[in-house]
């Protein structure tokens, strides 16, 4: 079959990429004291723009601005008024949606189809959803008058730059907190366009502060003594180190970390639908998704048939220019990430697994990795245990539902899982037994601000979205304590 498509590129001019972007602190775009960083377009590996980064003094100023805004403006403001600002931001994102989609695709490398249809609209929806909570906190089931925490320090990853910004900023602001947020080093642009939307919405200065920089800025931020709350989305190793460094501070922490999601296909599944779900589970955003369905568990009796269908389907995926509206799988975000994916895939080969990649031609520039299936793998191999964070699917088989459950749960992670079966009771039974924060029955990679998202185990703690996501930004500690003068051991002995 001929799958040739004529190129259908989106216009890069819509992104109106500037030569230089600045940190947003206390309501103003200011030059930061750190070294400039250059951001590249993963689809071409060419320089896209320059971003001024912050230093420690800038972080101090941002935290101080957030504190002032919290105390003087944002916390005293009525929830209804706070909500109106968030509604404005939601509208502002929608109005500049096409521009934001282009900026995101150029800076991140994911297909324009995804940024246009998912990242940007869902980001707007997050602000719209959380705007409505701002004057309804008493209905969260957390008491008559839940209080905000104060100043939140937030660090977000490069895989959904704008959407993660929305996930972090919207609930924090709705609850009455102010924020200092650091975008990822390789994807600082879309959040700085969001800063323009925020400024245009007349959000009071200091309520949102954006501090671009590398990992050292993130470390300075999360360890800043002026914070009341830290929220991090990223890798499990960094999450661990943040949890460790915050030990003893009493600062509220939520972590959304890595995963190795099991996607379980039973023999009675609708196979064509399952194939679509598997493809969506691992090739959405080129697998650079913490909740990707990166471990396929197939019931043995249908493994051969399913894999044949899957290979045929993967062969039809169009890999290439992220700006092309026909592209299914875009670029890998950075040379470093491409290197990691390459190394781990090679580790699978070295450990004796069979590695198969789609035969599609890859562009001769930019950072690309072909959709890849790893079969004949065992549960102990690195490709079955470690998060690859790329378009690489490891395939394992099982015989019984119990075995599927045991294999799926055999991971320190616990973020997502999928179940494919036409039998309702089995779907619900598996959903109950899977130790994962999100379970998709006969679907995968669905997200909505009304549905909470977050992990079990080493995938982190705390939720984003839904009522439980609001709890992450409120003081929910209602345990009565003795007055501090009476604290400590009672003098019984």
């Amino acid at each position: 079959m001929d799958w040739e498509y004529a190129p259908a590129p989106e216009s890069a001019a819509i992104g109106a990429i500037k030569d230089r972007y600045l940190p947003y602190i206390d309501g103003t775009f200011v030059e930061g004291g750190g070294d400039d960083l250059i951001t590249y377009s993963p689809g071409t590996a060419e320089q896209l723009s320059t971003v001024s980064t912050v230093n420690g003094a800038d972080v101090d100023r941002a935290v101080a601005a957030a504190r002032r805004a919290y105390e003087k403006v944002w916390a005293p403001m009525s929830g209804a008024e706070r909500g109106k600002y968030l509604f404005r931001i939601a509208r502002g994102i929608a109005e500049r949606a096409r521009e934001l989609a282009v900026v995101e695709t150029l800076d991140n490398g994911k297909p324009i189809k995804e940024t246009r249809d998912f990242d940007v609209p869902t980001a707007a929806q997050h602000f719209f959803y959380h705007a409505g909570w701002a004057d309804k906190l008493q209905h969260l089931g957390l008491g008559a008058d839940p209080r905000p925490l104060g100043v939140a320090g937030q660090v977000i990853p490069w895989n959904f730059p704008l959407l993660m910004a929305a996930w972090k900023i919207a609930p924090a602001l709705a609850a009455g907190n102010t924020v200092v947020i650091k975008p990822a080093e390789t994807t600082p642009l879309s959040i700085l366009v969001l800063a323009e939307v925020i400024a245009d919405a007349d959000l009071p200065p200091g309520v949102v502060n954006i501090v671009p920089g590398a990992g050292d800025v993130g470390s300075t931020l999360v360890n800043h003594p002026g914070l009341d709350k830290v929220a991090f989305t990223g890798s499990t190793p960094v999450g661990r180190s943040i949890q460790q460094s915050l030990a003893g501070t009493g600062r509220k922490l939520t972590l959304e970390l890595g995963g190795k999601g099991a996607n379980i296909v039973f023999a009675d599944a609708a196979l064509d639908q399952a194939v679509e779900g598997i493809v969506n589970g691992i090739f959405f955003n080129a697998g650079q998704v913490c909740c990707a369905g990166s471990r396929l568990l197939v019931q043995e009796s249908i493994a051969e048939e399913l894999l044949a269908k899957l290979r045929a389907r993967v062969e039809t995926l169009r890999v290439g220019d992220p700006m092309d509206k026909n592209t299914d799988v875009g670029a890998i975000n950075s040379a470093r990430q491409l290197e990691r994916i390459t190394t781990l895939t090679q580790a699978g080969r070295d450990e004796g697994a069979e590695v198969w990649s789609a035969s599609c031609p890859l562009p001769d520039r930019g950072w690309f990795f072909p959709p890849t299936l790893i079969t004949a793998a065992s549960s102990s191999m690195r490709v079955s245990r470690e998060e690859i964070f790329g378009p690489v699917l490891t395939v394992l088989t099982f015989r019984t539902p119990d075995e599927a459950l045991a294999k799926a749960n055999n991971t320190p992670y616990g973020l997502s899982a999928g179940v494919w079966t036409e039998k309702g009771s089995r779907a619900m039974g598996m959903a109950a037994g899977l130790r994962a924060g999100v379970v998709w029955d006969n679907t995968f990679n669905r997200f909505d601000p009304a549905a909470s998202f977050g992990g079990y185990g080493e995938s982190g703690f705390g939720r984003e979205g839904g009522p439980s996501g609001m709890a992450a930004y409120l003081d929910t500690d209602d345990e009565p304590v003795l007055p501090s003068s009476r604290s400590g051991r009672k003098g019984r002995r």
């Binding site: 972590l255 379970v439 549905a451």
Partner: protein, 294 residues
């Protein structure tokens, strides 16, 4: 002829049984006057690991029990405790409490258990949600137990404090390994006897006696422990344990002060050991529930 008393040997409570410490070590428990009350087992790292293994087994049984059943079992603990009121009053008074305070403490502990017995079948209704997602899917979020919780039990109120930390953990469907407050071991182990006669499956609650400073770091670093309750740890130990817990991204509950167990408990402890799971299921393009969200 006088009857020569038969004093109790205070052992550990692990996996529904009362073993001695594998280390063979003991330490003396003294009453308020400094008189020897009994020797208690001084649990070792190996005992802690055995307790985690037992808790993991207990977790399977307990988390799989129906909420109604869990509520009944917790209520049964209250019944058994109330039935042994006199014994606990005597233990608490020997530890130095006044008779009236000791009576109040036992009564409050019984009432605390009754309070939590009524929580087991309400958690999803209060902390979960039906999610109005914008697409053809049915979606809900519901709390589930975190798993195995290691607890440093508080000092001060030997029975009420212990019950107040264990009950919310059980209510959520978790299992626990509890390091009893060192001087209160006799109360803790006697409470173990209450648990053992209350239809609580073996391994759901495991009680270790000894030094929390010695045992707790092993539990905080243990990969099969999912969460820590640091209520009874002093500031220095608590921070050390929090640090150790980060290696396996454990949930940590550390009260912001000394809990006032005499008043209504709130829900923070209950929520600390619950995970929210969100499930999505397609409803198809053709909705039979015309007009409704699903």
């Amino acid at each position: 002829m006088n009857h020569l008393a038969v004093p109790k040997t205070y052992k550990l409570y692990v996996g529904g049984k009362f073993p001695r410490s594998e280390s063979g070590r003991t330490y003396p428990l003294r009453d308020a006057d400094g008189q020897l009350l009994a020797n208690a087992a001084r649990a070792s790292r190996k005992d802690a690991r055995d307790a985690v293994g037992a808790a993991r087994k207990g977790f399977g049984a307990w988390s799989g029990a129906t909420p109604y059943n869990r509520g009944q079992v917790i209520y049964r603990i209250a019944e058994m405790l109330d039935g042994r009121r006199a014994e606990f009053v005597e233990l608490l008074t020997r530890g130095g409490a006044g008779a009236s305070a000791a009576g109040s403490e036992v009564d409050a502990a019984v009432d605390r258990l009754v309070h939590y017995a009524g929580w087991t079948d309400k958690l999803p209704a209060v902390f979960g949600s039906s999610n109005p997602i914008s697409g053809p899917y049915f979606s809900y979020s519901a709390p589930e137990p975190t798993g195995v919780v290691a607890v440093i039990a508080p000092t001060g109120a030997p029975l009420l404090g212990l019950v107040s930390v264990i009950a919310p953990i059980l209510t959520g469907g978790n299992a626990c390994v509890v390091i009893a407050a060192e001087p209160d071991a006799y109360v803790a182990v006697t409470f173990g006897e209450v648990l053992a006669t209350s239809d609580v499956p073996g391994g759901v609650v495991n009680l270790l006696t000894g030094s929390s400073a010695e045992i707790a770091p092993h539990l905080a670093a243990h990969a099969d422990v999912n969460a820590l309750d640091l209520t009874g740890a002093d500031a220095e130990l608590a921070t050390e344990l929090e640090r150790a817990a980060s290696d396996t991204v454990k949930r940590v509950y550390r009260p912001r002060g000394t809990p006032d167990f005499a008043t209504a408990p709130g829900t923070a402890r209950l929520r600390a050991f619950l995970e929210i799971k969100t499930v999505w299921h397609p409803t198809g393009a053709l909705s039979l529930a015309g007009g409704s969200a699903y």
